[in-house]
């Protein structure tokens, strides 16, 4: 489990994250929602520990994240960022194998078990046939699945994803989130699409101006009022057998 307790992050005199508290029980999936600039990515960085909090505590299991070494954190928490750009020309196997780094010394070579885990995680994300390909030649959806396979190769209990469905077409969005759910890790992901969030997350947390605006089960959180307040959009919400469905009508003046 991972949790944040009254966590804030001040950048350039402005509170990007303002007193957010959130507990993600083991095995559950939380979607972070909110418009651009609402603090989703910033909050994920604090949860990942790649930026120090200005105040408040992030807890990973029973430990204060800040008290753990980077390596200990990486052994149980994996992150997939929004942008994954490299100047080098790795193969897909090179990229997925990065996930094994936290589990061995920097000077030791990959073991048989490392290769096994890489193969297994690649298969899990359906990229095993791409392992010999150059990363640069992959489509956006394939790259995203490769990055998640890399994250799974860290054998994490917690998984943080920043807009994993960005730039993906509809089919790849659904596939990707299905695979992520199937991986069964404690997951926090920032999402733009309210319908995807309602379908694939157990709980939604809506951030607005760095603060938690609403949190809870999708049916409790997604209301016409919330979409108007947070996104400035008039919407209809209908309950279908497959879950909630939000239909956007127009931008409010």
């Amino acid at each position: 489990m991972i949790g944040a307790h009254d966590v804030s992050w001040r950048v350039g005199g402005h509170l990007a994250v303002d007193g957010v508290t959130l507990d993600v029980p083991t095995g559950s999936t939380v979607a972070l929602l909110g418009p651009n600039g609402s603090g989703k990515s910033s909050f994920l960085r604090l949860l990942a520990g790649v930026r120090p909090t200005s105040s408040g505590v992030v807890r990973l299991g029973d430990d204060d994240l800040a008290s753990l070494s980077r390596r200990r954190v990486a052994q149980r928490l994996a992150v997939v960022d929004q942008e994954n750009v490299t100047d080098t020309d790795p193969t897909v196997r090179d990229v997925v194998s990065l996930g094994r780094l936290p589990h061995r010394a920097a000077w030791s070579p990959a073991t048989g078990r490392d290769r096994e885990v890489v193969d297994r995680c690649a298969t899990q994300m359906r990229v095993e046939h791409l392992l010999g390909r150059r990363y640069a030649t992959l489509s956006g959806g394939e790259r995203q699945r490769v990055q998640i396979a890399r994250a799974l190769a860290q054998e994490p209990t917690e998984l943080l994803l920043d807009e994993p469905t960005n730039h993906l077409d509809l089919r790849h969005q659904l596939e990707l989130l299905t695979l992520v759910r199937r991986a069964g890790r404690t997951t926090v992901m920032a999402l733009h699409d309210l319908n995807l969030a309602a379908t694939y997350a157990d709980r939604l947390v809506v951030l607005h101006e760095g603060r938690v605006h609403a949190a809870g089960a999708p049916e409790d959180v997604l209301t016409v009022g919330l979409v108007a307040d947070v996104y400035g959009v008039e919407a209809e919400i209908e309950s279908t057998p497959a879950g909630l469905h939000v239909r956007y009508l127009r931008a409010l003046p």
Binding site: G49, V50, R70, D89, P90, T91, L101, A106, P109, R133
Partner: protein, 359 residues
Amino acid sequence: MAVLDRVLRTPERGPEAPRRARAASLAVLGPVGLVVLVLSIAASTAIGAADLGPRDVLSVVLERLGGPETGLSTLRERIILDLRLPRAVLAAACGAGLALCGVVLQSLLRNPLADPFVLGVSSGASTGAVLVVVVGIGAGTIGLATGAFLGALVAFSLVLLLGLLTGGTTDRMILAGVASTQLFAALTSFIVFTLADAEQTRGVLFWLLGSLGAATWNEVLVCGLVVLVGMALCWASAGTLDAFMFGQDAAASLGVPVQRVRLVLLVTTALVTAVIVSVSGAIGFVGLVLPHVARALVGVGHRLVVPTAALLGAIFLVWVEVASRTVIAPQELPIGVATALVGVPAFVVVLVRSRRRTS
């Protein structure tokens, strides 16, 4: 130019087989590379005005190690032992060190155009050398090499300070390096133009362009040891360097204490480069181009790239050193000029390739 071809061609790899072959190749690559390096040094020692064969070189070395008498004249022995061999070995050490530093800086700064001099080390060294040679700072107690080394450290410290003050991101580091390079280059030119006589100018200029002509065994020893230690440290950090593939945040989330690692590796490369520059002047392009050649040959994993680049750099510079003293013999070409003549076309290739990748 088979090597250039390999850099130019975007390698199309088959599914899995080539990777396996490569993974198994460290045990083969190392010994083969070392043998080629030793043979290159022996061959380069045999080439030159005095007519000597590789066999003579070998017998002299063997005699030194307790083998039988060579039967060569003392003069010929001295040519081999005091003139040619230290040059060749120093070339190997410098080539290995420069390529090594190039690998590390390109990875840490995430810039395919980074080279060992990107953080201002060489221009600082030139200012230090000029201060000693032309202005006479140190009053004869410190030599050109010491002056250059101190200058390099001052310039690098300035870059580090500027980089950290402006936020410590890789872009800021590179900008600080550019600024510092310009500043120290201007200082050097200023001193040379206002104070140096023709003789001094020529001496400094020759040194600036790189020269192994005055190599001594002392320099070989210092430079060789520093390069070996630097290489051990970088090789031991291979996994850490790999972790920077997708940038600093990605490295941090893969368990790397980014700030500390970056500082240690930047200081290491700066020290190695400063020592190399102080004995050989600024030999360009080895550190820029050979890391790319190494990656084109063995892929991106630093466990292979680090030793491969170092071996390639060593072999490359040994042969460039031969070329520099034979092409226009009996005149000598500054070795930096020779590496640049090979390096500039390769540099263009790297530029084109990196552009193709981002577009």
